[in-house]
Amino acid sequence: MKNIKWIIGILVVIILVVVLSNGGDKEQSAQQTEGPIKIGFIGPLTGDVASLGENALIAAQLAVDEINANGGINDRTVELIAEDGSCSGKEASSAAQKLISIDKVVGIIGGLCSSESSAFTGILNQSETPGISYCSSAATLSDAGDYFFRTYPSDAYQGVFAANYLRNEKMIDKVAVLYVNDDWGAGLKQSFIDTFKNLGGEVVLEESFEKDERDFRTQLLKAQASGANLIYYLGFDQGAVSAIKQRDELNVDLPMFGADPWDDMTIWNDVASISEGFGYTVPHTTDSQSFTSKMADVGVSEVSVCASQSYDTMNIFAQVIGQVGTNGSDIKDALYDVQYQNGISSQNISFDENGDLVGAEYVVKTIQDGQVVEL
């Protein structure tokens, strides 16, 4: 009797799977010609980098609302489906699986963290679903296959820019590098260190930490003992706040220099007063008062890094889908040729043969008198 129950159970499961997967296929063909055009969004909505993720999601939704208010794409409305990638590969990969196989999205905006994006580029290529990241900068993502693009510059440039700035303009000889142990941190650290050494600088300390680390006291002391002139800190908002505070508490008198995740006012609202002279690099964006005020209208007082890229990314999808329809392979081909004008993040957006953003410009921002100032 027991065996029969088992067999029936297994049969029921098999039948269900077959029926459901057939139903799914029908739904997909339906999705491509009528109803709203579904676009997926992946970014950290919980955890360490959530403030950037939430900001970027609002920006993407803003673009969707504007597109729909103007009649949608080819008379179809756009629906944005957001999933939490938690800045982790595991979460982002199941988010992408869900968006592609259950929601049948036409394309994915995301991920934010490089560790998110690198986890699902394989799924994008396999399912022929184009994805455009608005924030992932790890240099390794250049080789992520045909279906992955990004409107955010690769760190191959940011590390070089930061090294040049610190070595040639700030005359720093010795640097201590503390970096978060993920795709982004390790990649950026490497491009920075290679350039910095080539320019005759010395890296006296090179240490990583885990993303949820909040106690940097002993590492900060090591940095001080190493004889460095500056701490190059590659980490996200919450860790950065802890590290900056602890540096102040421990009277470690080395300045700190960060990278693009520091372009987040939640950090400086907190610690600007104890960060005099600190700086960070961030991709140059076309200054747009209208974007800032549009974001303010939807309740965002401080626009964070990657929000404008997220907004542009949605509009690029809309432009391309408007031209070639919702077939993944057609969208991919069109993206390689796209010339997107009057973007918020940069004037002209186009992609090279690796799907990377063409042309990357950076600026340095510093903290002066408790205010973030662009140099």
Binding site: A50, E54, F209, R217, T218, A225, Q238, V241
Partner: protein
């Protein structure tokens, strides 16, 4: 080099106090009801957020915010016990079931905190506590001194409570054998409720201190809980002073590892110590 050593010792003492404080509350629950209450981790986060809510959003006076935080966290601990743990225990559920239920509570509370307060990092500021003093060549903030002092007070308070009062005797009786305790006339329900109230207040204290020291986020509970569990296990699950020894041992090992190896080895070393203890000294330092 010499000037560094006092600071490393101070860093270890700061971290050790926090682990010990969280561990003591966790130990109280474990000592009494004999299961790993993971929901306790969420109580620390809840405490941090209640302090943030009262002090920063409602701007009530500091001491009222502190008392309010402790009361609210204790109340949540009591509710968790009443609604979930007590019915499960009354039904004779295994420790595995209780562990899973507590994991469920942990996740649910963490998610509710994120919904109410967003998952953005928040800091709680009390100006006078941010000042730094120099002790034996090490820099230490008032918040951290307070953390160390509170840990000592809680430890002494709990020791007195457990050893010298009737209430403490009842807790030990329940921990040894709940059925027998009931037969000899201990009001077990009542005692267990009080244990949760006390542990909740300790978790709330730890959460608000972490908030004052570094900051709060909904996911902070798990990190604190894991360290507390390691401290309890390497200290010896049966004895309260073991928790404190375990906590400081863990903190010193971690900081020495960060100093000599590198930051990324911190968790590797911490959990390796845990595994070594489980393998070779499962009863911990204080165990027979």
């Amino acid at each position: 080099m010499n000037s560094i050593i006092p600071q490393i010792v101070a860093n270890s003492i700061i971290a050790g106090s926090l682990y010990a404080l969280v561990g003591l509350g966790f130990f109280m629950i474990y000592r009494t009801v004999k299961f790993f209450d993971l929901g306790y981790g969420a109580l620390t986060a809840f405490g941090g957020y209640m302090m943030y809510w009262l002090l920063t959003l409602l701007s009530v006076p500091t001491y009222i915010a502190i008392i309010g935080t402790l009361l609210l966290t204790a109340m949540l601990a009591l509710i968790m016990n009443r609604l979930v743990y007590r019915p499960l225990r009354a039904r004779g559920s295994s420790n595995m079931v209780l562990l899973v239920a507590s994991l469920g509570l942990f996740t649910a509370i963490q998610a509710i905190i994120a919904i109410l307060f967003t998952s953005q990092f928040k800091t709680i500021t009390i100006r006078s506590l941010q000042e730094t003093v120099t002790l034996f060549g090490a820099f230490i903030t008032h918040t951290q001194l307070l953390m160390i002092a509170v840990t000592i007070i809680v430890f002494i308070g709990l020791s007195v409570l457990l050893r010298m009062t009737r209430f403490g005797a009842s807790i030990r009786a329940i921990g040894d054998d709940e059925e027998v305790a009931k037969i000899v006339g201990v009001n077990t329900k009542n005692i267990v409720s009080w244990v949760f109230i006390i542990a909740g207040a300790i978790a709330g204290t730890a959460g608000l201190l972490v908030g004052l020291d570094t900051g709060i986020e909904p996911t902070m509970g798990m990190q604190l809980l894991l360290k507390a569990v390691i401290a309890v296990i390497i200290g010896g699950v049966g004895r309260m002073y073991g928790v404190v020894i375990g906590a400081f041992l863990l903190a010193f090992i971690e900081n020495i590892a960060v100093w000599h190896l590198s930051g990324e080895w911190k968790d590797v070393v911490a959990f390796s110590v845990l595994i070594l203890f489980l393998l070779f000294k499962p009863k911990g330092i204080t165990g027979a």
